[in-house]
């Protein structure tokens, strides 16, 4: 199959505007008069030596943190930027779905904006006029289409922008974080449209933070990290690597944050006031929790599990001031906040030994029977009346993989048995 997009050794650098005010004639003249040498053009590499080939009809997902160069890559392919080095070839008409509706003029009506937008994106006047009704129909904004665009909501802007873009009849679609547009019904319509494009063999590039969307839509994926391609391959493989790296980075950061202060005097610890609560951690710190990690059956730290895998939540505690009333607890939350499960040593009637100094707590889950998705583990230590000593919420993400597609939260183990009607009828 022919390649729709080919990049070889593509690099892109940007001038760095860190803190410098925009140039003006005044400042340029002052620099000249004052004989101040202009500072060397500071540049940073947005993309370094990217090799990428996308076959015609394939959908490629691009994942990575903010500032990793995803959008720059898209703009290079769209022809908005030019690479500093390397070669780049794109075959066919490209529809960039970047910042949809950004070019709309607020004083013009929706209909007029559709015409202008369509022509700017590469349709001919005749083409736009022919498809105008179709576009308006798709946007679902027929009753507002003759009102000025300034009266539209931002959702309506994007819907109209998306409607124009998907009617371009492109060969290559570049999609930048625009999958979740408008209400649920419209989002579904967009998804259907993209599925149509896939079916008829359009090439698509999808930039998104939503790794579930990459798995759902893409044939392959790449992971960009600070301008370098860290991984390429099947979406699942790339996303697992990406998530693992993100989780490790986070736990590294947490571990560093927990480094005990250098030789603290015992009295000082006693009188220390608890640190101010943050969104993901609070409590009076009579007992502290540190180094929370998730281990697989072999004791390796991991943050991606297959459904049904055993998992051990392991963390260290440190007693700053002995207290009589103490309870350890943990909970599992889905990334949208749904509370999947929660319990503590009190509810489970686990007797705690005398706690002094520091030690370790292990919670072993024999089978992580969860539907595939992203989750968090919360851990806490608190008094019996609920007063938190140290509460860690939504700090430790992990994800669950599953080959099966199921719905809901928990993977309920079950069996089916279908009894044919005539078998029952045959009974006496």
């Amino acid at each position: 199959m022919a390649a729709a997009i080919e990049l070889h050794g593509v690099s892109k650098r940007f001038r760095f505007h860190g803190g410098r005010p925009p140039t003006t004639v005044k400042s340029a003249v002052l620099e000249l008069v004052g004989r101040r040498r202009r500072r060397m053009k500071e540049r940073f590499a947005a993309l370094r030596d990217i090799d990428l080939t996308v076959e015609t009809g394939r959908t490629l997902g691009i994942v990575g943190a903010n500032g990793s160069g995803k959008s720059t890559l898209l703009k290079l392919i769209a022809g908005i930027y030019r690479p500093d080095s390397g070669s780049l070839r794109v075959h066919g008409r490209v529809a960039p779905l970047i910042e949809l509706g950004a070019g709309f003029h607020p004083e013009l009506t929706g209909r007029e904006n559709v015409v202008i937008n369509g022509i700017i994106l590469g349709m001919s006047q005749r083409e736009v006029r022919r498809r105008l009704d179709e576009i308006v129909d798709f946007s679902g904004l027929a009753e507002f289409i003759d009102a000025p665009a300034r009266t539209y909501s931002s959702g309506m802007y994007m819907r109209l922008g998306f409607a124009v873009a998907v009617h371009l009849d492109p060969d290559v679609l570049l999609i930048d974080e625009v999958l979740a547009i408008g209400d649920e019904a419209f989002a579904r319509k967009c998804a259907d449209r993209l599925a149509d494009f896939r079916r008829v063999g359009k090439t698509m590039l999808l930039v998104t933070h939503d790794s579930a969307a990459v798995e759902r839509w893409c044939d392959e994926a790449v992971w960009l990290d600070r301008g370098v391609m860290r991984a390429a391959g099947t979406p699942r493989k790339v996303i697992d690597l990406y998530r693992q790296a993100v989780a490790e980075e986070e736990s590294d950061m947490l571990a560093r944050a927990y480094e005990p202060p250098a030789a603290p005097a015992v009295e000082a610890v006693e009188t220390q006031t608890p640190p101010a609560p943050t969104l993901d951690r609070w409590g009076t710190r009579e007992i502290e929790i540190e180094r929370v990690r998730l281990d697989d059956a072999y004791g390796n730290e991991r943050y991606v599990y297959a459904a049904g895998d055993p998992v051990t939540i392991r963390f260290r505690y440190r007693v700053n001031r002995p207290v009589q009333s103490r309870v350890f607890g943990f909970a599992i939350l889905r990334n949208d906040g749904v509370w999947v499960y929660g319990t503590n040593t009190n509810l489970a009637r686990i007797g705690l030994p005398d706690l002094r100094g520091s030690g370790e707590v292990e919670v072993t889950i024999d089978a992580l029977d969860l539907i595939a998705g992203s989750y968090f583990v919360d851990v806490a230590v608190h008094a019996e009346d609920g007063t938190p000593y140290d509460y860690h919420s939504r700090r430790y993400p992990f994800s669950v993989r599953d080959d099966a597609t199921e719905h809901g939260v928990a993977k309920i183990r079950h069996r089916w048995r279908i009894v044919p009607g005539d078998a029952r009828d045959g009974r006496p």
Binding site: T24, V94, P96, I119, I120
Partner: protein, 258 residues
């Protein structure tokens, strides 16, 4: 340069639709709407006539007609330069999301203001008829003069629009510069009032040549001196050529900086 020129032609459909947008948005939502095209030069003509013809008694036959014939091309030039200079900065969102040859944006400004100029021209001709001016053969030189001014303005507007992306205060500078330029251009006074020894200096200004060409053809009812006009035509072509070459050099940086 040739590529930039070909793009101007290849993107003419976009140019046309953007001109249409420009004209439509300029007058939508204003009470007088389309009448603004006429009102601005008309008011200027009345004020200048009052000041220079009634108060200061400049000895020029049918001064309002004379001033109007010079004002129209000047207003075209200055409004094209002002809107052209800011055109790329203002359409930053467009350049950042669609691959787009940036120099077609100043081309839109220059062409849209040309449309306004052409719409106001019949008003001048109407005044001349009412005043009893003869409409002579000299009018056939108008398209040539318009074409030369178009090329010159387009070249200058492209250069200004690209430099404005880098130097944002260039716009204010340009506004002041245009005011000075206006008084150095024989719009309010005929060239015959300028002392002999300044005549050569006066005609170094291409806009002086163009404005007097309009005044000659309309008010003076005689063909403008082709020697000056052809010199300006050559300058205009060189300026446009340089502007398109500059566009080829700067275009890729613009999407990153705008």
């Amino acid at each position: 340069m040739t590529r930039a020129f070909k793009e101007l032609l290849a993107y003419r459909e976009i140019v046309l639709i953007l001109i249409w947008r420009d004209l439509k948005t300029r007058y939508r939502g204003s009470v007088l709407g389309f009448l603004w095209t006429f009102l601005n030069p008309l008011l200027l003509m009345i004020i200048y006539s009052l000041v220079f013809s009634v108060y200061m008694r400049v000895e020029v036959r049918a001064y309002p007609i004379f001033v109007f014939a010079g004002l129209l091309p000047w207003i075209w030039f200055s409004s094209a330069m002002l809107s052209g200079a800011s055109s790329i900065v203002e359409s930053g969102s467009l350049i950042k999301r669609v691959p787009f040859p940036p120099h077609i944006l100043p081309a839109v400004s220059v062409t849209a203001t040309l449309v306004n100029f052409l719409l106001a021209l019949p008003l001048l001709v109407g005044f001349m008829v009412v005043w009893g001016f003869p409409l002579g053969w000299s009018l056939i030189t108008l398209p040539l003069t318009i074409a030369i001014q178009y090329v010159l303005t387009l070249g200058l507007a492209i250069v200004m629009s690209m430099l404005t992306v880098r130097y944002r205060d260039l716009q204010q500078l340009l506004a002041n510069l245009l005011t000075l330029w206006f008084f150095l251009t024989p719009v309010l006074y005929p060239t015959t009032m300028v002392p002999e020894r300044f005549q050569g200096l006066l005609m170094l200004n291409p806009m002086a040549v163009l404005v007097t060409a309009f005044q000659d053809a309309l008010y003076g009812a005689h063909a403008p001196p082709l020697r000056h006009l052809s010199a300006v035509a050559a300058i205009a072509l060189v300026v446009l050529g340089l502007a398109l070459a500059l566009s080829d050099r700067l275009r890729w940086g613009l999407a990153e900086e705008v």
